[in-house]
């Protein structure tokens, strides 16, 4: 019993993944195509902004402004891209993402606002700014040169996969192998000790929120390219879904633990779960409730793991 419980707690992610997959596969006609679809088309978007969330969670905070950052930066960029200034548009988009991340970082480190409140508040303000900017309109019909970023494929694999894997590898390298990444983990685990060891913790946290902002705008841009439409409502669910994916992936809210690698599994679980509900003909209105439940369950699992670590000899 003890062993089974311990096993379950250690490998719950894999078990969950297969359980969901087997349910959805038993209902769909072409399970392989379905899985391919999920991995090629759906997961990359979620993955990119979830990485942003994960990095923020590693510093001991979180970033709930992902969605509005994505909306604001892409809407601003769309004005340029629609005039065929694609590269300038992309650059502006990423810069805005970084700039908004900078604001988040400053609020958290310099004004010392709780990250939850700071990014939630920013989410509100930025979303308001997007509404003002777009005043109810949408921008659509982009050129093919732009749409190809998300629609194109190489060797039968969607560009989205290449982009997200490239981002994953870069982030894994930076956060596992470099001095910067190591210091981010130390800062997340204990900011005070890190500062007292001569690490510029404020700067590190600000940079991480900037990266998070850039990742949010990147995934926003890909969405716009894919949907061929920039609108103010983009990314309403980013923060919630990313938090769910990050937590179920095993990155702890205490900071300094987990990583983007864990989040890949977390994202797959979330995407498979959504797909599963979809093929089971569950209304998409259930999404919010499901995200909430996943967050609660993963927080509980994390707690159980800590509390019974000794007992279960994990």
């Amino acid at each position: 019993m003890k062993r089974i419980a311990g096993f379950a707690l250690n490998y719950y992610k894999i078990i969950l993944l297969f359980a969901i997959l087997s349910v959805s596969s038993s209902v769909t006609q072409d399970p392989l195509q379905n899985i391919k679809n999920m991995i090629m088309i759906q997961a990359p978007f979620v993955m990119i902004y979830s990485f942003g969330m994960t990095l923020a969670v590693i510093t001991g905070g979180l970033d709930l402004s992902l969605g509005s950052v994505a909306a604001f930066s892409t809407c601003a960029a769309a004005f340029l891209i629609i005039k065929d200034q694609i590269f300038l548009g992309i650059a502006v988009c990423l810069l805005i993402g970084a700039g908004l991340g900078l604001l988040n970082g400053l609020l958290i480190t310099k004004a010392k606002v709780n990250p939850f409140i700071a990014t939630y508040g920013m989410d509100w303000v930025i979303r308001g700014a997007v509404y003002i900017m777009m005043s109810g309109a949408m921008i659509y019909h982009f050129s093919n040169d732009f749409k190809i970023i998300a629609d194109g494929s190489f060797l039968g694999i969607s560009n989205l996969v290449y982009i997200s894997v490239a981002i994953l590898l870069i982030l894994m390298f930076v956060f596992q192998k470099t001095v910067f990444g190591r210091n981010v983990y130390s800062t997340g685990a204990n900011t005070k000790v890190s500062r007292l060891t001569g690490v510029n913790t404020d700067l590190l946290i600000i940079i991480v929120y900037m990266i998070s902002g850039v990742l949010a705008s990147t995934s926003g841009l890909l969405y716009v390219a894919r949907l061929d439409c920039a609108e103010a409502f983009l990314g309403k669910n980013f923060g919630l879904q990313a938090l769910a994916a990050t937590l179920i992936g095993g990155t702890s809210l205490q900071g300094g633990k987990g990583g983007v690698g864990n989040t890949v599994i977390g994202v797959l679980i979330m995407v498979f779960l959504m797909n599963c509900l979809n093929v089971l003909k569950v209304s998409t209105l259930w999404q919010d409730a499901v995200f909430g439940l996943v967050i609660v369950v993963s927080a509980l699992l994390e707690m159980a793991k800590q509390r019974y670590a000794n007992y279960l000899q994990l």
């Binding site: 609020l107 004004a111 010392k112 606002v113 709780n114 939850f116 409140i117 700071a118 939630y120 508040g121 920013m122 509100w124 303000v125 979303r127 308001g128 700014a129 509404y131 003002i132 005043s135 919630l240 938090l243 937590l247 809210l253 209304s283 209105l285 259930w286 999404q287 919010d288 409730a289 499901v290 995200f291 909430g292 439940l293 967050i295 609660v296 927080a299 509980l300 707690m303």
Partner: protein, 323 residues
């Protein structure tokens, strides 16, 4: 009493002065702001905000937060109007709406107080659960109601004042009494001051958390029912983002996140401030999008100010108190 609570006393008078300045500004700048018809409506909005914020005040006094307040409003609104549309009795429908709030509140209290989950994340999760349930229940539609009673709750008047004003006033008096004079109120302040101290004094903290979150949930549900009464319809987005205004109200009123100090009186003034600001902005002709962004900005500034003032105060305390 006054002498010793001097700093709190000064804080409250300072806040009141701020509200007064804003009020006078709006009276001159915004056409149509100063007048019984408009001010009566401001009073109504203020008290709806205050009812929800008084529950939140208790939660923040405990040193916790309740992100689910807005979603609970939506859920209560949907539950009540949905049951009405199925032909249920109005009393039953209202009670069911309140019960929905109590259930989400209980869930919050259980996750935070008993299972010790991070209160931000736990209530953020229940926020999306409540929101999701509301959406599913109404299938994303607006549910119109033809109940005269619900309409009366939202817009009816007694002796020239809105029903909401009377009802909220009674509710607030009860809440004020509860938080300052009763054993339960004492316990909230003790736990917020220091959970460890409270525990060592034999206070069963988990019960207090549960009850406080349930109260906050029920009060949010009351707010949601008021809102749906105003429109005489149920809407799953009625409380979207409302929790943010509510939290800001509490903070502006001088009850900081760390818990254990502050109280409902300050929250009332905070509610005045936000309600006047909101109404004044729309009277000044700002579009809803601008209002959304400006109020968000004002709230964020209030939060930053609150945090920095309290940082300084904490540094001061550290110097003076060995705890």
């Amino acid at each position: 009493m006054k002498k010793n609570n001097y700093s709190r006393y000064r804080e409250i008078t300072g806040l009141l002065a701020g509200v007064l300045v804003l009020f006078i500004f709006m009276s001159f700048a915004a056409e149509g702001f100063f007048g019984w018809y408009n001010l009566h409506n401001v009073l109504k909005d203020l008290l709806i905000l205050m009812v929800v914020a008084s529950g939140m005040t208790l939660v923040i006094l405990l040193g916790k937060i309740d992100m689910s307040a807005g979603s609970v409003m939506s859920l209560a609104s949907i539950v009540t109007t949905l049951l009405l549309s199925y032909g249920f009795n109005i009393v039953f429908a209202l009670l069911a709406g309140l019960l929905a709030g109590a259930i989400i509140g209980f869930l919050n209290g259980y996750l935070v107080g008993v299972l010790n989950l991070n209160h931000f994340v736990a209530t953020f999760a229940t926020m999306s659960i409540a929101k999701g349930l509301a959406l599913v229940a109404c299938n994303g539609d607006i549910i119109s109601s033809d109940s005269d009673v619900l309409l009366f709750i939202g817009t009816g008047k007694i002796f020239g004042l809105f029903f909401i004003v009377w009802f909220a006033a009674i509710l607030l008096i009860i809440m004020f009494f509860l938080s300052t004079k009763t054993k339960f109120g004492y316990k909230i302040y003790s736990i917020g001051g220091s959970e460890q101290v409270a525990r060592l004094s034999g206070i069963k903290t988990s019960n207090v958390y549960l009850l406080t979150y349930v109260i906050a949930g029920v009060l949010a549900a009351v707010g949601g029912i008021f809102m749906s009464g105003k429109a005489n319809s149920g809407n799953a987005t009625i409380g979207d983002g409302y929790e943010f205004s509510v939290i800001a109200t509490v903070l502006i009123g001088g009850t900081p996140f760390e818990g254990g100090k502050g109280g409902l009186l300050g929250t009332l003034i905070g509610a005045m401030f936000l309600a006047i600001l909101k109404n004044g902005l729309s009277m000044l002709g700002f579009t809803p999008a601008w209002q959304y962004a400006l109020i968000g900005l004002a709230i964020l500034i209030a939060i930053v100010a609150d945090v920095s003032i309290n940082e300084r105060r904490k540094a001061e305390e550290k110097r003076r108190i060995k705890l």
